[in-house]
Symmetry: C2
């Protein structure tokens, strides 16, 4: 293993599912033994073989699924029926300890969408990677701009050493998953309070929406749970400028035990930490996007510029919110 990775290696970590446009053969090989999870004629996820086997076992999965060669669909004519059927399925799997990932049960519902932004069904957050369905989050980079004498500095949290997923790794200043019908703006305002103790009124005034990332993640060991589960994600991204503490700027503080400390790192320190793969993979991608939007990574200084940026702005085959 090299002691320093390339930025593109970080993208490979987080966008690790082949793209049909650029790699049609790899896509065909990868998906050959997957089933498409469909709603009407639309692909809403992918089912890998270990999950398909569980769905076929009606003692575990009831008669809530229709399984055909290469295609799986969830029974139910209404959002409520489909929600109940996938709830029953995942609850039984959890009780039978069928999948390790379900030990992270949160009692938090994520929405899976049919076309035209209508909810197809709601499901337990931690079970979404079993079905390869698209999920949403919001991430914010809080930073102190450069001055003539000081480089730009970013507020970077270190995840708690005891956290189940990616313990001890570096993170974005604020980040959270979007569940329970909350939109990205309300999500980031709430998480900024819960994760970093930023005052709500300050965030509402200073946070700025700057786009989103989209990538298709295949879970690896540090994610916890089964390896190889599929997790396509859209992460809405926000920037927030703060002043230095000495000038009265707010300082992020750990609040709920998820974070051990918040560090103020200058751009060169962040670059080094990225290349040492010390950031959680999707948080690294958020910082690469930040670096590109802020002219820190450019065509002239980064040979993989085009690939990095398009890989983290992936167009999905799934209906979206």
């Amino acid at each position: 293993m090299p002691s320093y990775y390339k930025y593109l290696d970080l993208v490979d970590q987080v966008d690790s599912f082949p793209n049909i446009a650029t790699h049609p053969v790899a896509f065909a090989e990868k998906t050959a033994d997957y089933s498409r999870f469909i709603h009407q004629a639309h692909t809403i996820g992918y089912i890998i073989p270990i999950v398909l086997d569980a769905l076929k076992d009606t003692t575990l999965s009831g008669d809530w699924w229709t399984i055909a060669p290469g295609v799986v669909s969830l029974n139910g004519d209404t959002t409520e029926e489909r929600t109940r059927n996938i709830e029953e399925t995942t609850r039984r799997w959890r009780e039978a300890k069928k999948f390790e990932i379900l030990s992270g049960w949160r009692n938090e519902k994520y929405t899976v969408y049919a076309p035209k932004s209508t909810p197809c069904f709601y499901m337990e957050r931690c079970a979404t990677p079993l079905f390869g369905v698209l999920t949403y989050g919001a991430h914010m980079t809080v930073y102190i701009p450069a001055t003539p004498t000081t480089p730009m500095r970013l507020w970077v949290p270190r995840r708690a050493a005891g956290k189940q997923t990616y313990p001890g790794m570096l993170d974005n200043t604020v980040a959270g998953g979007m569940g329970d019908g909350v939109g990205p703006w309300e999500c980031i305002v709430k998480e900024a309070g819960e994760e970093a103790s930023f005052e709500e009124s300050y965030v509402r005034e200073h946070a700025k929406a700057v786009g989103f990332l989209s990538y298709f993640y295949v879970r690896h060991d540090k994610a916890g749970g089964e390896i190889g589960l599929l997790q396509p994600e859209i992460e809405y991204v926000y920037d927030m400028i703060v002043k230095p503490e000495a000038e009265g700027g707010p300082v992020p503080k750990p609040f709920d035990g998820e974070v051990d400390e918040h560090m103020l790192m200058d751009v060169e320190e962040v670059k080094t930490a990225l290349k040492q793969m010390r950031f959680k993979p999707n948080c690294a991608a958020v910082i690469l996007d930040f670096f590109i939007r802020h002219g820190i990574l450019t065509n002239e200084n980064e040979p993989d510029y085009l690939e990095i940026y398009t890989r983290i702005h992936r167009r999905f085959e799934f209906p979206t919110r």
Copy 2:
């Protein structure tokens, strides 16, 4: 025709080629009578039927091409040979007045790439849409930030009424195609001088790289030349903050007759002009990206937010620079 369009309608103008990931059937139908332009095993463009017919006519196209069902390749073992063969082909077509688009001959060479950023061949700029090959440009938005009493304002040029392509339409403050081996940074510095009379040293100090757009354009009537020619493009984008003229900020001035005037438009005026489709299509896309990066268009105020942003950050099947 509605008097006001949606922002997504603007995206439909500029990214009008179906995406295989989201619309596999539309992609298959659209490309059914196209040939792939290949170099070794790589797709480097698409050839539409009227161009294929011209290639098959060896009195026009010599023996410089290999044509098989659904696949076309340019003969030549070296970059130089391939460059000569496509040069001879397009020169003969031009002399025979075979394609109207060749009347815009510029004597400017664009590079078409093989994998690993190596040049596959060089070709006349105006002929690139006949082969559906990927081309590159650089666009810059010059703006005066909002103050507590004044909204953000953008410098917007109006294209000369006598221009061959998109006469009288609104444009980005600075924009140009990337030919002759020039990178995007040098391109934007040069164009900022030629198109808007910005001083080189000012641009080098103040322009900031902020990413790029990528979209697959199918040429329509206002583009000039044959309708339906294919033009996949990557546009590197730059932002540049200037002060108001009253505070000594630089003012863009027409220089080479391509622009009739530069107007200072506030964000609401730009929004209205966008919705009236008064901007050149790809320039509209650059402004939508600017609006998203600057928190003017957000998830909360734009129902097509996700689709707009991913459509203008398309991942191409072609090798890139």
